[in-house]
């Protein structure tokens, strides 16, 4: 069923702009909006004692940065796919790259509602299967959307997995830098 849906997407006509502004951007709004409400009204729960509460300004700044990072991440991933396609999928276009990013990020963005309850443990439990699903979609969508054969698709999927993992780690590092410089919880540094 999933592969059939991806094939339907591959056959449909759309432009990268239409795909992004008509679909992806709305999904990308889900995690930061959920994060804002979770942070401001509930606080970061560590699983013990009172949650760490953030002010309205802090919550807004973090949510806006989060949104911008997701948008940048979306475009960076699409452009990376296009760049990688010269080796792995010569027939792929920028439009196809946008389609791949849309497919793999859709479950993650939808699952962004978990930010309404900002508990780290809850996030790990709730998001792990979602990341697994996105991983599957990554490998399933590349051969279909980028019009390449299965073996090349696996190689490209691995390379892209490396890129996305690195981007995820970067997000963690950027967050840590922001917290230390006053954007985030009150830390004694």
């Amino acid at each position: 069923m999933i592969k059939a849906s991806i094939e339907r997407l591959a056959q449909s006509s759309y432009s990268p702009a239409k795909l992004f502004f008509g679909f992806s951007i709305w999904l990308i709004l889900i995690p930061p909006i959920s994060a804002f409400f979770g942070m401001y009204y509930y606080g970061w729960s560590m699983g013990i004692a009172d949650p760490i509460r953030l002010s309205l300004t802090q919550s807004l700044i973090i949510s806006i940065f989060y949104f911008l990072m997701l948008v940048v991440g979306f475009f960076a991933t699409a452009l990376t796919i296009k760049w990688m396609s010269s080796v792995y999928a010569p027939k792929a276009t920028l439009k196809d790259a946008f389609a791949v990013v849309t497919v793999i990020t859709t479950p993650i963005m939808l699952a962004g509602v978990v930010h309404l309850y900002p508990s780290i443990l809850f996030h790990v439990i709730a998001l792990s299967p979602i990341f697994a699903l996105s991983g599957y979609l990554l490998f399933a969508s590349i051969p279909i959307l980028l019009k390449t054969d299965y073996d090349r698709g696996i190689f490209m999927g691995c390379s892209l997995f490396g890129f996305i993992s690195t981007a995820g780690i970067s997000l963690l590092g950027i967050s840590a830098i922001a917290w230390v410089h006053g954007i985030g919880p009150n830390l004694g540094v």
Partner: protein, 479 residues
């Protein structure tokens, strides 16, 4: 029969056998340690298996037992093939192979008995340090002796990496362990205070750099082109990356000592050099990815190839995450938390262990004269167990590390800490259960590999010794 016309691989076979034994011993100890973190009663009040003693046992067994045996084995195997000559001294090679096992076995046993210099990854006491140094220098004699007697003019890039491993690790080991003995089991280090810390982490991080990176890159640069059946994509890039790696890595150790009593400029130099290190690391990764390109069908046909592909992903990830954690603003949160432990294991399991597994699946059938492995299905099960295991492990420790980092530093409006130490311990428990599950999956995969490789050996041992004739050097490349 003129033996000089054939490669000699008996020491390599022995070392690969030891590699598998150490994998199981070292990883089992790791899994037991992970169990103790969530079930502390598992130490049964026995000092020898308490966390403080079992932890250095685990690290030394996996780094020097598993990693060291694999590195020496593959160095002996590949240096002959890339030099078109038999090992310089097969007898000395055997002494190295056996001496290394005795040195590491006695060393880790002494750690369980409570004898330790307390320097991380350099815990062995001075008599064992001297024995290890002698064996290591002998390894250098065999390796460089083989290089010196080579029949082919160019020195292949894998040998540059193995050579760096041997020279730099000898230097690190000897300098860091300089001490004045006052009994058979104890010695005073010649350094003190902040100097001792700087020298220790100059050793500590370069042990990661040259033992766990340069050595394994040597293994990788030999195995990958062989498995892909293609030359290295850019030989020039591999050599540039090698020298950039050598010049940069040696500076980065003090990033382990951010915000301590060492000079601030030294921390900054270490941080900057750590960030620069991304360039040679990723150049190597790019070279590897491009070398694999074109060998598309190998993922289906070659059981070890998928391990090499994934090892490169984790290499890229770990060599990006490491410099990021060396940034002072990140380090202030990540240091002294599980984030660092997760980072180390993404490198040690995802990169070092995966590249070793891929290499063993490639080498063992060749060494025992088997047409293929006993079971490709078991390789696939091993692959997925190992991949899921390492992902579970590092995701758990990322989450745990971030929670610990924030809780360590979180203060209220009066500047008082929001959380006590025991609060942080309690919060960490679920993640440590996840880590245990991930570790057990990885260990079970290693057990499957050992069984698979043993059955491959058992089914083909009548072929031993497998005689491989040394091919003639291509005209124009003779020395």
């Amino acid at each position: 029969m003129n033996k000089d016309l054939y490669y000699t691989d008996s020491a390599t076979i022995f070392l690969i056998f030891c590699t598998m034994i150490w994998a199981i011993v070292g990883m089992s100890a790791g899994a037991y340690l992970a169990s103790e973190l969530v079930m502390p009663w598992l130490n049964f009040d026995i000092a020898e298996i308490s966390f403080g003693r079992l932890r250095p046992f685990h690290t030394n067994a996996v780094i020097f037992g598993f990693g060291g045996s694999a590195l020496i084995a593959t160095a002996f195997y590949s240096v002959q093939r890339t030099c078109h000559v038999r090992l310089f001294s097969p007898k000395l090679a055997w002494i190295v192979a056996i001496g290394w096992q005795i040195g590491v076995a006695v060393g880790v046993a002494s750690l369980l008995m409570g004898y330790t210099s307390t320097k991380e990854y350099a815990e062995f006491e001075w008599p064992i340090d001297i024995a290890v140094a002698i064996v290591w220098v002998s390894f250098g004699v065999v390796f460089f002796g083989t290089l010196a007697t080579r029949k082919i003019r160019p020195i292949y890039v894998s040998n540059w990496f193995y050579g760096a491993l041997i020279i730099v690790v000898a230097m690190l080991h000897i300098v860091n362990n300089l001490a004045i003995p006052y009994s058979w089991t104890q010695a005073y280090p010649v350094y003190e205070g902040a100097q001792d810390a700087i020298v220790q982490w100059w050793y500590g991080h370069n042990a990661v750099g040259f033992f766990l990176t340069a050595g394994f890159l040597g293994m990788f640069y030999y195995t990958l082109p062989k498995q892909a059946d293609k030359p290295v994509w850019s030989y020039r890039l591999s050599v540039i990356a090698f020298w950039a790696f050598i010049y940069t890595y040696i500076w980065v150790g003090p990033h382990h000592l951010h915000y301590t009593s060492i000079p601030d400029w030294l921390m900054t130099v270490a941080m900057v050099m750590s960030i620069i290190l991304i360039l040679p690391s990723w150049a190597t990764m790019l070279n590897a990815v491009m070398t694999m390109s074109g060998a598309w069908e190998k993922l289906r046909t070659d059981p070890g190839m998928k391990f090499l592909v994934v090892s490169m992903i984790f290499y890229a990830l770990a060599t990006f995450e490491g410099p990021m954690l060396a940034i002072k603003s990140v380090n202030v949160i990540s240091h002294y938390t599980d984030w660092t432990v997760g980072h180390v294991h993404s490198g040690a399991l995802g990169w070092n262990a995966f590249v070793t597994f891929g290499t063993l699946y490639f080498l063992v059938p060749k060494l025992v004269g088997a047409s293929e492995l006993y079971s490709k299905r078991l390789v696939n099960i091993h692959f997925w167990l190992a991949l899921m295991g390492v992902l579970t492990y590092i995701i758990a420790l990322w989450a745990s590390g971030v929670a610990q980092g924030v809780m360590n530093l979180s203060i209220n409006d009066y500047g008082q800490l929001n959380y006590s130490f025991i609060d942080i311990v309690v919060v960490t428990i679920p993640y440590h259960w996840m880590r245990l599950i991930g570790g057990l999956m990885f260990l079970f995969g290693a057990l499957l590999m050992t069984y698979n490789l043993y059955r491959t050996y058992a089914a083909s041992k009548h072929n031993l010794p497998v005689l491989v004739k040394i091919p003639k050097v291509h005209p124009g490349n003779e020395i």
